[in-house]
Symmetry: C2
Subunit: 410 residues, 2 copies
């Protein structure tokens, strides 16, 4: 049994450092039914942090499978008027939003891929105007709570409740929730370290990054002039800091749309829409993914890349050293929140306007004109390994090593 | 362990006979988190019955306690714009609505009574215009699924899962879900029997009913001319039959507002807003409750009676024989859905316009002008016992026995 006091500390970390609830703010939690015990604890902590109203939107992947099976695509794709009104309410009230991730990575494997992609695309498209209006204006945090099936997948040879306890232990440990010390303080320290990395990178004036590894990766990606590397905590336009991902080990930037050349080879499977895409590579030309292969689920990879106008372009380049605590667990979590923090990665789909200087005063449209990619998709995939080298070409003409043998060169 | 096949039959009973889902109709299920296993089965059955979309609104009494503790009355009382939009969506699409009851009867005991009554009143008031617009236009059904705490309360000396199984067995048995035979067919037979009772009563031309029992009950209530006794299945204005309560053993009518004289003495505790009101009596004059006493929670009883303009008047008189299968279990369920079907009862609060002749073509306002009580409240309380006698005074001047020694006199 995982100690209640540790779970309570984790809940405090999410409420205080994850979304940094402001006095009188609303909080909206998205959770799975099998996370109920932790959610009850978290709701109490949110109120104790000064929340005015805490609402939980409950989800069930098992029921989703039934909905996909029995509803037609049109019905599934609809965002009903009251659902739109709810999104508008979020725009109007800017709640802190907590997403508790814990799905079975294979939970939607039985769902028709084409139907799923179409429905997810349609619903994202309907939500996008609301999401755009909230961009950088409210705090949000994705954190994980072990669901039953996810735990069983990672620890298949143990009983259900033991598997869940084991996954809890891994999550708490990589999230810096330990018996010793205060996790909120540990995260403040961690945020400072990530900020130092960013400051160093941002002084270099990087024009492009060149990735090479013996597995075949040979790839160059261009930067938007003036864009900055970010990592750890973020800040709303009103100056409230928050940690959008717990855990997070990455330093990231949104690259220039249209500037990517060469081939990247995946170093970890990608879990997307409930299925695993394995051993894949993608070749870019003029910023666009033009060719791809996968040993498993190549067709699904294609669906993802071709989802909309922007889904074949990159939205993110993230740097994660090979000695990341998450990689050091030796576990594949089958969950991007963890696996993306085990290795350097790229993301297809939308980029982050807050990587631009003066983002607070810019519109989404301006950000897109400056080179931030726009899409309804944002999917990370891992290309980091022990042999990865990255060099930067800088505006002053110099070439500077950034990563050597999978880790920071400075 | 309760057999899955029995649970599936119960789900079928709710979907087919409870709400009688029409092909292409939406279904909305209100459920507690601890009913998830049965809900998953029910959702599947609803789709198999032809539902277009099945939505589950999840509730948690444990979280409600936190909301009441930490939110102020104003925040709790608000029906947000998107919640109004959802109610309007129900008016527009007329879904079949299933309410799965299974709350801990004492679950809200720690909540401030005054705050609770104010909030419930405010939220009901906001929902009422929508409810009125759906009256008799869609199918709905309240059925029970044992929650953990409710089960423990009824079987306190057994382990949690055993208690839940025992409560399941009681529920399935009184709902006519047995190993032998089809519960849907059993309910069609039961509906026929209730319809025969109603037909007999409706031929008598009853002006008023006079209740007497040795416990002190001596009470007369007047009828609306032409109003009819109903029981078992109901019918929407478009002719779709449904069973709004499973179980249901009662034959009922809405009396004439303003015509009630004398004293009624409760024969079972009343569970309201999470607390028990015990050993109480209410005296009526000109139809209005003017005096009341209770050994336990008298103040709460007063709050309920004085909730709004109509809550001191009667909305229902229901006849249930003492040999009801629910009474025969010998159990107090601490839940109105069951306990009201164990004994004759009255209800304070709103009445049912469908007891009026030609109700389909009448507005709510007309129904109220004809004598159907209006209120946001509707609360049943039990006055039936083995010694209860009821006689009817009829329009032809005759006096006819209706109940003798607690059961039907005809």
């Amino acid at each position: 049994m995982v100690k209640k006091s540790l779970l309570r500390n984790y809940a405090r970390l999410i409420a205080k450092r994850g979304v940094n609830i402001q006095k009188g703010q609303d909080v909206v939690i998205e959770a799975e039914l099998d996370q109920a015990e932790f959610v009850k604890m978290l709701v109490r902590v949110c109120y104790q942090c000064g929340a005015r109203r805490v609402v939980v939107n409950w989800h069930s992947q098992e029921l989703d499978v039934l909905h996909y099976r029995f509803q037609n695509e049109k019905t599934l794709s609809l965002t009903l008027p009251w659902e739109q009104a709810r999104l508008q309410h979020y725009v109007d009230t800017l709640p802190a939003r907590i997403y508790l991730d814990g799905d079975d990575p294979d939970g939607l494997a039985s769902v028709n891929r084409k139907k799923l992609a179409a429905v997810v695309g349609a619903r994202r498209k309907a939500a996008k105007p609301y999401r755009d209006k909230m961009e950088n204006r409210h705090q949000w945090c994705i954190a994980a709570v072990p669901g039953e099936e996810w735990s069983k997948k990672l620890f298949p040879r143990t009983r259900g409740s033991v598997a869940q306890d084991k996954l809890w232990e891994s999550i708490l440990s990589v999230c810096r929730v330990t018996e010793e010390g205060d996790p909120v303080a540990a995260w403040e320290e961690h945020n400072k370290n990530l900020a130092k990395r960013c400051a160093h990178l941002n002084k270099l004036g990087i024009e492009s990054l060149h990735y090479t590894a013996p597995n075949g990766t040979d790839f160059t990606v261009g930067m938007i002039p003036g864009a900055v590397f970010c990592g750890g905590e973020e800040r709303t336009v009103r100056g409230v800091t928050f940690n959008p991902n717990i855990p997070s080990e990455e330093v990231f930037i949104s690259p220039m749309r249209g500037k990517a050349e060469g081939k990247v080879v995946s170093t970890m499977p990608l879990s997307w829409n409930g299925a695993l895409i394995e051993d894949f590579e993608i070749t870019f030309k003029d910023g666009r993914a033009v060719e791809w292969h996968a040993r498993k689920n190549e067709e699904l990879l294609g669906k993802m890349i071709e989802m909309d106008e922007g889904s074949a372009y990159l939205g993110e380049c993230a740097l994660v050293p090979f000695e990341s605590p998450i990689r050091e667990t030796g576990m594949l979590f089958y969950n991007t929140l963890f696996d993306e923090n085990a290795a350097c990665h790229l993301a297809l789909g939308f980029g982050f306007p807050d990587c631009l200087p003066g983002f607070a005063t810019r519109t989404q449209d301006e950000a897109h004109r400056m080179g931030i990619n726009d899409s309804t998709l944002h999917v990370d995939f891992m290309i980091g390994c022990r042999e990865l080298n990255i060099t930067a070409k800088c505006t002053d003409g110099k070439t500077v090593p950034i990563f050597e043998n999978g880790t920071w060169a400075f």
